[in-house]
C-alpha cells in the first residue's frame, strides 16, 4: 500500500518541483531522477501485488490487480527512458527554437503531471476518477502540443483539445448511464462506480442500459485510443508537439485508454452474457487497423507516419481484445507492452533524425546510415521490430493474435494478413530512402543519446526470444482476469 501512495506522491512532487526549477540547466537530470524513483516505486508495488495478490486501498479509492499493475510498471519505465532522451533533446530544442524559461518549466512540469494522470487513471478504482484522470491527461498535454507556437502546432493543439474533449464527454455520459444502472442494485451510492463492487454485481445490472452505456464509453475512450473514424486529432497532436511528448502519448496514453475500454468490456460481458461488446471492439479495431495501414502510404512527415502506425497497432489490439478468449487476450496484452516499447523507441529515434536533417519531412531526410550510422541503424532496426519481424516481441504477439483469429474467425485472418502487409509496405517504402539514400550535402551528426532505444530494443528481443517466466505468469493472471478462464485447449 505504501508503495502506491509513494508512487503517486513522487509524480505529484515531480510536477510541483519542476514547475519551480524546470528552466534550470540541470532540470532534465532532476526529471530523470524523479522518473527513476517512480520506476523503483512501481517495481515495489508490482512485487507486492505479485506476492500478495490484488491490492485495495483503504477507502476503496485505489485498486491494483494483475491487469493494471503491469501497465503501471510499463508506464513508469517508458516515462523513465523518455525522460533520459528528453533531457538532452529538449536542451537542444530550447536552443534551436528559443523556448524561454516559462515554457521549459511548463514542459518539465507537465511531463510529470501527464504521468501522474496516467498512473491515477490506472490505479483508480472509481470509474468517475478514471474519467477525471483521462481528461486530466489531455489537459496536461494540450499546452505541450502547442509549445513551439507555430501555426501548425496551435492548430494541432486546438484540434486535440476540442476533439478529445468532446469525445471524452461521451465517456462521461456512459459513466452516468452505468451509474444509473448500478444504483438500482447497489445499496450504497458511493460504492456504485467502483470496479471491485461492479464486477461482483455485473450479473444483476440492467442489460439495456449497460449496452447503451458501453456504446457511449466506446466512443469516448475510443477517441482517446485513436480508433478510426475518431482518430483525427491523433496524428496532428503526435506530430506537432515535442518528440518526447509524442513518445509518451503513443506509448502510454493510448494504452491507458484501451485499458479503460477493456475494463468496461469485462463489466458489460458480465452483465449481457453475449459477445456484443467484443463484436463492436472487433469491428472498430479492424477498420482502424486497415484504414491506418493505408494512410501510412500517404504520409510525408516522419512523426505523422509513426502516429498512423500507432493507430494501426491500437486497432490490432482492440480487435484482439474483441475476439476475447485466452490466446487473443494474451496476445493483446503482450502487444500492448511490445508496441509501447517499440513505438516510444522509434519516436525517440525520429526526434534525433529530425534534428540531424533539420526537418520532419520524409523526402528531405536522406542517407542517415552514412551521416550517423548509429541513428540509421536504430531507425532501421526499430522499424523492422515495429513491422512485426522475428525475432522481436511484436512478431510473437502478432503471431498469437493471428493464430487466435484463425481459430475462432478463420475468414478474418485474410484481412488481417493483408493489413499487416499493407502496413509493412507503407513503413518500408518511406524507410528505405531515409536510411540508405544519398545524404544531402552538409548534413552532420548531432549528439544523441540512444540508451533508451537500446534498452527498449534489448527488451523487445528478450520478449521475442524467451519471455521470462514471471512475466508470462503475469500475463496469464491478467488474461484470467479479463476472460474469466485459462483455456489450455486453445494454446495447443
Amino acid at each position: 500500500m505504501t508503495s502506491l501512495w509513494l508512487l503517486l506522491a513522487i509524480a505529484l512532487f515531480g510536477t510541483a518541483l519542476l514547475a519551480l526549477i524546470g528552466h534550470l540547466p540541470y532540470a532534465g537530470r532532476v526529471s530523470v531522477i524523479i522518473s527513476a524513483a517512480k520506476v523503483a516505486a512501481s517495481l515495489w508495488l508490482a512485487y507486492g501485488v505479485l506476492e500478495h495478490g490484488p491490492l485495495l486501498s483503504a477507502g476503496k479509492l485505489f485498486f491494483v490487480d494483475a491487469f493494471n499493475v503491469y501497465l503501471i510498471v510499463l508506464t513508469t519505465f517508458v516515462g523513465f527512458t523518455t525522460a533520459i532522451f528528453s533531457h538532452r533533446y529538449m536542451a537542444h530544442e530550447a536552443d534551436v527554437r528559443g523556448l524561454g524559461h516559462r515554457r521549459m518549466r511548463l514542459y518539465h512540469s507537465m511531463y510529470h503531471a501527464f504521468l501522474f494522470a496516467m498512473l491515477a487513471a490506472l490505479v483508480a478504482n472509481n470509474l468517475g476518477i478514471l474519467w477525471v484522470a483521462m481528461e486530466g491527461a489531455t489537459l496536461a498535454t494540450v499546452l505541450l502540443v502547442s509549445i513551439y507556437r507555430t501555426p501548425e502546432s496551435v492548430e494541432a493543439a486546438w484540434k486535440y483539445f476540442v476533439l478529445c474533449g468532446v469525445g471524452i464527454a461521451q465517456a462521461l455520459f456512459g459513466t452516468v448511464l452505468l451509474y444509473f444502472a448500478a444504483e438500482q442494485v447497489i445499496p450504497n451510492r458511493d460504492d456504485a462506480l467502483l470496479w471491485t463492487v461492479l464486477y461482483a454485481t455485473a450479473g444483476s445490472l440492467d442489460p439495456t442500459v449497460l449496452t447503451l452505456a458501453f456504446v457511449f464509453l466506446l466512443i469516448g475512450y475510443g477517441t482517446k485510443v485513436g480508433l478510426v473514424p475518431l482518430h483525427n486529432w491523433l496524428p496532428d497532436a503526435h506530430s506537432e508537439g515535442p518528440t518526447p511528448m509524442s513518445a509518451i502519448l503513443s506509448g502510454l496514453l493510448l494504452n491507458v485508454a484501451l485499458y479503460a475500454l477493456v475494463r468496461v468490456k469485462m463489466l458489460v460481458d458480465g452483465s449481457l452474457g453475449t459477445n456484443l461488446a467484443g463484436h463492436l471492439l472487433m469491428g472498430f479495431g479492424l477498420v482502424s487497423f486497415m484504414a491506418a495501414g493505408l494512410f501510412l502510404h500517404r504520409q510525408r512527415d516522419i512523426k505523422r507516419m509513426f502516429s498512423y502506425s500507432s493507430i494501426e497497432h491500437m486497432g490490432l489490439m482492440t480487435f484482439a481484445f474483441g475476439i476475447g478468449g485466452t490466446l487473443a487476450t494474451f496476445g493483446a496484452l503482450l502487444h500492448m507492452t511490445v508496441h509501447s516499447l517499440a513505438k516510444s523507441a522509434l519516436f525517440v529515434t525520429a526526434g534525433h533524425v529530425s534534428q540531424v536533417a533539420g526537418t520532419q519531412r520524409i523526402e528531405r531526410i536522406r542517407g542517415l546510415i552514412r551521416t550517423q550510422p548509429a541513428l540509421g541503424w536504430s531507425l532501421l532496426i526499430g522499424t523492422v521490430a515495429l513491422a512485426g519481424f522475428p525475432p522481436f516481441g511484436l512478431f510473437a504477439s502478432e503471431f498469437l493474435v493471428l493464430t487466435a483469429t484463425i481459430n475462432s474467425w478463420p475468414w478474418l485472418a485474410l484481412p488481417l494478413l493483408v493489413g499487416l502487409s499493407i502496413a509493412f509496405a507503407g513503413l518500408f517504402r518511406h524507410l528505405q530512402p531515409m536510411v540508405y539514400g544519398e545524404p544531402p550535402p552538409g548534413q552532420t551528426p548531432v549528439r544523441v543519446n540512444l540508451l533508451p532505444v537500446l534498452a527498449h530494443m534489448v527488451l523487445l528481443l528478450w520478449l521475442g526470444l524467451a519471455m521470462p517466466g514471471f512475466l508470462a505468469d503475469w500475463f496469464k493472471q491478467a488474461t484470467v482476469l479479463i476472460t474469466g478462464s485459462w483455456d489450455t485447449d486453445e494454446l495447443l
Binding site: V154, G165, V176, Y179
Partner: protein
C-alpha cells in the same frame, strides 16, 4: 401526460428543464458574442436552481454542495472569465454571421425529438419527471455539439463545449441525484482547468492566424498532397 397532477416541485423541475433547453437554443442562434456568454451564464443559473430543487425534493443533501459549485463555476466564474477574455481580445461586440439560422434551429428541434427517442430505454423504470429531464439533458448535450459544429468563432465553440458539460451534469443530477462527491469535485476541477486553458488558446490562436475564426485553422491534412 398530466402535468397538473404533479407536485409543485416536480412542475418547477420540468419548467426549469424547459428553460435550460431554451437557453441552449439561444446559444445556437445568438450571433453576438456577449449575449452568447450571458445565455451560457443563465443556463448555469438554471442548472444550479434545478439541482437545488432536486436536492429539496429528494432530500439528498450532498446535492446542495453540487448546486453551490455549479452556481459559482458555471453561472459566475466561467462566464466572467469568458467575458473578460472577450474584452481583452476586443471581440465582445463582434457578430458572427450565421449562414442559415432557421435551418440551424430546425436541426436543433430535430435533435430534441431524437433525444426523446434515444432516452426511451433509459427511462423505462422512471417517473414522468425523469423521463422529460433525461431527454432534455441529452438534447442539451447534442445541441452543444451542434453549436460546436455550426459556429466558427473560438469563443462560441468553447461555449458549446461547456454547455455539453452542462448537459452531462444535468443528466447526472436528474437520473442519479448526481455523481459521488469525489467524482463531482474532480469533474469541476477539470472543467475549471479547461476553461483556463481555453483562455490561453484564444491568445495563441489569435497570435498564429490573426483571428479567432477556427475554421481558418486548416493547415494540417490527413493526407499530404
Amino acid at each position: 401526460m398530466d402535468l397538473a397532477k404533479l407536485s409543485l416541485s416536480d412542475q418547477a423541475v420540468i419548467a426549469s428543464a424547459a428553460l435550460i433547453l431554451f437557453t441552449s437554443f439561444i446559444m445556437l442562434a445568438q450571433a453576438r458574442i456577449r449575449p452568447l456568454i450571458y445565455a451560457f451564464a443563465w443556463q448555469g443559473v438554471l442548472l444550479a436552481l434545478i439541482t437545488a430543487l432536486v436536492a429539496l425534493v429528494s432530500g439528498q443533501s450532498h446535492l446542495y454542495i453540487s448546486a453551490a459549485l455549479t452556481l459559482g463555476l458555471k453561472a459566475f466564474l466561467i462566464p466572467w472569465m469568458l467575458h473578460r477574455l472577450a474584452v481583452r481580445l476586443n471581440v465582445q461586440h463582434e457578430v458572427e454571421p450565421l449562414a442559415n439560422p432557421s435551418i440551424l434551429l430546425l436541426i436543433g428541434s430535430a435533435l430534441v425529438i431524437f433525444s426523446y427517442y434515444v432516452s426511451v430505454p433509459i427511462v423505462q423504470f422512471s417517473t414522468l419527471v425523469i423521463r422529460n429531464t433525461v431527454a432534455v439533458s441529452v438534447a442539451v448535450v447534442l445541441l452543444g455539439m451542434l453549436v460546436m459544429v455550426a459556429r466558427d468563432k473560438a469563443i462560441a465553440q468553447v461555449v458549446g463545449f461547456m454547455s455539453i458539460e452542462n448537459g452531462l451534469f444535468f443528466a447526472a443530477v436528474v437520473s442519479t441525484y448526481g455523481m459521488p462527491m469525489v467524482v463531482e469535485l474532480g469533474i469541476a476541477f477539470d472543467v475549471l482547468v479547461a476553461a483556463v486553458l481555453f483562455g490561453v488558446f484564444f491568445f495563441q490562436i489569435r497570435a498564429s492566424i490573426d483571428s479567432l475564426d477556427v475554421s481558418r485553422l486548416n493547415r494540417l491534412r490527413e493526407i499530404d498532397e
